[in-house]
Subunit: 388 residues, 2 copies
């Protein structure tokens, strides 16, 4: 199998982009990635998107975005896997290059979640859960995750404040990310005081819905022109694993089995153990997800993921930095774009371009995004290559 | 690059399945494909679907269908490319096997279009066109295709009855397909008398919306057990090409440029010319599309595609059989399932299992499906392998 590297990255600011259309957001990220890669031309385009058909009445984004980006004629289609759509699109682009069918593949994640508020968005987001057994009962993803946290707190006898460290790390790291939606640190007191959103979640336990687009260019390294001077980042491991869609179908809802398996498979392909990574961009759509993801990846035993955040291990100067540019909580959760944002941020770290938040000498990153409560889990191992 | 073969096929009846849910339809097709392939187990699942998020409020079909089919844990995601979704999912499965990441990949196309009627369905179908410039004006895909036919008739000075042959061939061939929605031949007089749907289209110019699911199992041939006794069919060529999403952005709307390019590329990969194929499963969502697709593939010059249907060349005993088991018009158009139905039907022909409609000695098939007015075009060359 051929090597696949990330040769270009681009991203828009994350936030409320009422004045920029879906196609324009995608174009901004794509143009940035192409400039970053010295004008590299892709043969294929994989669009990660969750909800444009429901919220913007626009399907067929592959042809739309190829067209609007001046790439008419290339292969293009949409990849959807709920919150994991961006990661799944990255995986699709990886398959296109690894198969030899594309020398250069473009992956763009794009989403607009803030043009509408309230029920239409909640109903659309709920379409990622089981519509016949979960959504039909009025269950929203946030309410479901809140129940998961309630169960975690009760089962492991943990205080509600146990999760406070996750949004605090995200917000602390988001301060230095010019793309982030929220660039303000939060204190333990602010977390304590925050309004309850869905008991036991307060507003800091839930990442904000956002608009944004991020793009990466994947390529076979031997075909790249010497004009590309940024360090190349190899996709050393790539895995997508599913679990039951409905949470009630699992033997133990507090185990993110698909997350565990996808980390295991991606690391096996990369020839490393999770302990060998320098940072972990995990999927903190809800603070409880961060704890469960750390446990699934094997960094903590079940019920103890929250303890890692108490002693500084997960901060930028710790042994296992997470959410290094703000994560979903502070950067913002732009649906199907999120998985691509995570990859872009990991590449910044591995290139040494992460600014004030740079992890010194970062060489390997684990990047993971989830659809639903890890009903889909996509994990990639990214690794800096030595200069050519 | 490794060879990729189709080792198993399955399909449900096409029609109005009000009593069978989306997930159940998918399961029926998947189980049939697995039985057909001697119980072969896939590592990945690619779901072709257009409109479940809009019409059934169900996204995240990868995890849903993997789960419901007893395949929890495998890689899975949805591939969307409007009417070409099924073909794009086949392409995604092909990339997964060709890349070496899956030894066996399962592709299922599934769609339910008949649970609702009228505006919700028309609005959802219109989301495949440009929502900001086309759909917003009230343009539906059928109205757009009707305008395309009007222009064709005027520009090439062709009578409206020129297109009658396409639905007549489809319906004649559908009679012997036990899966087809309509199994009744139509006469020239019936076509003449038929009610106008969208001038100049009458009801026989438009394929019916339908429900259904079809599945194929793709595999690396060297890994298949000897228990698989059906002839293997190789995917010799695979190409997905886009064009402008909006019809008004094209220099000549009567040229399906993406269809032309994708035939050229798929045939080049297969090492054949289009003249070497034994049947052509083309995308007759509208009768005018059949004429334009024949022209795009090079079987007729612009403005003359309709003449091919006048002299018997396209019937089962002609030199270029099309729509051999009924096409979209008689089998029914089950949205994102259509591209997979086309592949299943081509495999039946290449295996010699097409019953009364068998093309004697069929060895190579061209299979093409379109999203919008060929805004996306997916073409595959399928080829029977000699017995192992």
């Amino acid at each position: 199998m051929t090597d696949v590297v990330i040769a270009g990255i681009g991203q828009t600011d994350v936030g409320e982009h009422w004045h920029i259309s879906l196609r324009e957001l995608a174009l901004i990220a794509i143009e940035a990635a192409q400039v970053d890669a010295g004008g590299l031309q892709p043969q294929s385009l994989f669009v990660g998107n969750m909800l444009a058909p429901q919220l913007s009445r626009q399907a067929h984004l592959g042809a739309l975005i190829a067209d609007f980006s001046g790439l008419v004629g290339i292969e293009a289609y949409t990849v959807e896997s709920a919150g994991a759509s961006g990661g799944a699109a990255l995986r699709a682009g990886y398959l296109a290059v690894a198969s030899g069918q594309s020398d250069v593949a473009l992956v763009v994640g794009v989403e607009k979640l803030t043009d509408q508020v309230g029920s239409p968005v909640e109903a659309a987001l709920a379409s990622s859960s089981d519509s016949d057994y979960e959504a039909v009962q009025g269950l929203t993803p946030t309410a479901q995750a809140a129940m998961l946290m309630a169960r975690y707190l009760r089962e492991y006898a943990v205080p509600r404040e146990a999760m406070a460290g996750f949004p605090m790390i995200a917000h602390a790291n988001g301060v230095n990310n010019p793309r982030a939606m929220f660039r303000k640190a939060i204190s333990p007191e602010a977390y304590q005081r925050a309004a309850i959103v869905s008991d036991p979640f307060n507003m800091f336990d839930v990442a904000p819905n956002a608009d944004g687009a991020a793009a990466v260019l994947l390529a076979r390294p031997e075909l790249l022109p010497a004009s590309i001077t940024n360090p190349l980042v190899r996709v050393s491991g790539s895995s997508l694993v599913t679990d039951t869609l409905a949470l009630h179908d699992r033997p133990n809802p507090l185990i993110f089995e698909a997350a565990r398996l996808s980390v295991e498979r991606a690391c096996r392909q990369a020839g490393i153990t999770p302990a060998q990574i320098d940072l972990f961009e995990l999927y903190d759509a809800y603070s409880i997800y961060a704890a469960l993801s750390l446990e699934a990846a094997g960094f903590a035993s079940p019920g103890t993921g929250w303890q890692l955040v108490q002693n500084g291990k997960l901060s930028l100067t710790g042994a296992l930095p997470i959410l290094t540019l703000g994560g979903l909580k502070a950067r913002g959760n732009a649906g199907g774009a999120t998985g691509v944002y995570q990859a872009v941020e990991a590449v910044l770290q591995l290139r040494g371009q992460a600014g004030a938040n740079q992890i010194p000498g970062a060489r390997r990153a684990l990047v993971q995004c989830l659809g639903g409560p890890a009903s889909s889990s996509v994990t990639h191992v990214l690794e800096r290559l030595d200069p050519r």
